[in-house]
């Protein structure tokens, strides 16, 4: 297996009082060494559910998961979907690490930073306390925390938001993982701090040759760090491609809508944001056709009634750039590229 992470046809279903919620429906994503793969989408599109599946954090008793999630650890690989829980635990934090959205609440308020870091090492290297402490200081200075010796003895509340996210990153990297899942790592931070954290992730990736799976709703973040992008809507990938494909010639109407809704610096104050009309659909009993059809402006370009009655497949003329849409790709390519250009000038 060349890739560090291979998600294939992942489906995640939660039972609720109102019926089954199909949070993720047939998602396939792969991450190679040194690569940053982004999942973009609005709240409820299934991006966080996907990322939690990779680390096996769903409650198996209630959640139905099918498909496969292969994670490579040196010569062996493990399918997180079917593996026993204690085997998955031995991968967590060692082969696959995760950093979360809110660094304010993701660190335990009652334990010192140093011991929280050391613990991450000790789980997978039992008894090696001295090594763990040494590694903790090493990682703290690696993520750019000054005076690690002093700071390691402090508690999370003595750190600022950006510093706490650095600590979270240091903690995730304690065992030199192959894959880092970053679930909205900068959402809770100031813009300037955001840029620093993203730069830090990029630098660390270069040094450690990690694969990063970046979950975000922020297209700015995607443009800054991602190599490949998957756009999710209602639990499915609606478009995937390289960053340039996605930003300069989007093929899915939803991607286009997202890009057009980004405010531009220098636009006049009186100009309204171009929001996508309507609401995302409920994930219980999705329509049989295209999930985006009720909000789509381009239905008239497709074959009659196909959008309402037929689920579009993830297809494309090139292997790297695929999308789900019934409108013929040639028509979309020209039209959407022109629209994006128009919106940006």
């Amino acid at each position: 297996m060349k890739n560090l992470l291979e998600i294939k046809d992942l489906k995640v279903t939660f039972p609720t009082d109102d019926g089954f919620v199909q949070a993720v429906d047939g998602v396939s994503i792969s991450v190679a060494p040194g690569e940053t793969v982004a999942i973009v989408g609005e709240s409820g599109s299934g991006k966080t559910v996907t990322s939690l599946s990779v680390i096996g954090l769903h409650n198996r008793k209630v959640t139905q998961i099918t498909g496969s999630i292969l994670v490579k650890d040196k010569d062996e690989s493990l399918d997180i979907v079917s593996a026993p829980l204690d085997k998955i635990r031995s991968y967590r934090g060692r082969v696959v690490s995760m950093i979360f959205q809110d660094p304010m609440s993701s660190l335990h308020p009652y334990y010192k930073i140093g011991s929280q870091l050391a613990e991450a090492y000790l789980v997978h290297h039992p008894g090696k306390k001295e090594e763990a402490n040494k590694k903790a200081l090493e990682m703290l200075s690696l993520v750019g925390i000054p005076e690690p010796q002093v700071r390691a003895k402090e508690y999370p509340h003595q750190f600022s938001g950006g510093m706490r996210q650095r600590v979270m990153i240091a903690m995730a990297l304690m065992n030199d993982p192959a894959v880092l899942i970053a679930d909205e790592p900068t959402t809770a931070l100031d813009v300037t701090v955001q840029a620093q954290i993203l730069q830090l992730l990029k630098d660390l990736q270069k040094n450690l040759n990690m694969g990063i799976l970046l979950i975000t709703h922020d297209l700015g973040v995607v443009a800054q760090v991602a190599d490949r992008v998957h756009v999710m809507y209602a639990g499915r990938i609606v478009e995937q491609g390289n960053v340039d494909d996605i930003f300069y010639s989007p093929h899915a109407p939803y991607t286009l809508g997202l890009l057009k809704s980004v405010p531009r610096i220098g636009s006049r104050g009186s100009e309204r944001l171009k929001a996508i009309p309507g609401q995302p659909p409920s994930l219980i009993n999705l329509p049989i056709g295209c999930a985006f059809a009720p909000r789509c402006e381009y239905i008239s370009l497709a074959d009659e009634n196909s959008c309402e009655n037929l689920r579009p497949q993830l297809l494309g003329n090139s292997d790297s750039h695929k999308s789900r849409c019934h409108v013929p790709e040639e028509k979309r390519d020209k039209l959407f590229t022109a629209e994006i250009k128009g919106a940006r000038t």
């Binding site: 954090l57 934090g93 335990h108 009652y110 997978h124």
Partner: protein, 331 residues
Amino acid sequence: MPRFILRRAYFATLTILLVSIVVYGVFSILPFDPAALTCGQKCTPAIVEANRVKLGFDKPLWQQYWLFLSGIFLGRTYGAGSAEFTCPAPSFGYSFNENMCVTDMLAEALPVTINLAIGAFVIWITVGVGLGLLAAKFRGRYPDTISSVFVLLGTSLPTFVTGLFFLIYVTIKWKIVPLSLEGFTPITESPVKYLQYFILPWLTLAILYAAFYTRFTRATVLETLGEDYIRTARAKGLSERVVLLKHTMRAALAPITTSAGLDIAGLIGGAIITESIFNLAGLGRMTLQAVYEFDLSVVVATTILAATVVITMNLIVDIAYGYLDPRVRMK
């Protein structure tokens, strides 16, 4: 931290002083003549007057309070001449009904109450926290159901029901625990007699409090399990056992400690019903008896003592909280 403790101790002392003034004032303006209550059936106005002078009730109220207060630190002498007697410091007054210094009465009753409270505490905290943890871990499954039945029963049965049940069935009908006839025996003298004296009162109190702590622990643990830092702990690869017993319990410890401290204080102030049912010679029963007999000096002393215990416990809990929660410690 020492500054914080000093400040809190200063305010605690001030509060106790204030409480003593209010308590002393309230009981003194009650429409009883304390001197009249001190003499028996063959009472004459002359004896009442004599007793009034003897006990200092002839003086103005503020002087009486002052005598009471200084008595705590210096001891107090009553009467004059051959009838003179002294209650040594710390003196909380003199009970005419019992013909004893109140301090001596307290010294007899307090160990009983403290043993009652501590023993019950050990049982209820073990059962309550243990059961609460189990209920949280197996949420929605049968350990949770069983514990919620226990919670419902425990919180809805008043102590005079469980206490009487124990007394009537366990002691009298089934004869499992024999009636304790010898009264309070320190554990150092005879552990068997000590247990015989305390086991049922402990259980009576513990059932009520354990039920409350089961519910409290369950709720706190479930709330903590939903925290982001617990997800982080799991993402590190920690086992569920470590996540629950280390990360979750550490966070749940602070609120449980706070609650436990105040509940112990409440019990030391007097478990009146339980002590009365089991005829324990503790503070609660003593207070109740004093109220029946209008033995004001005893009521004043026990009320102030109870208030002092609550205030002191509050102080201890505050300090403990500082050690348990680093965010409080720094401020």
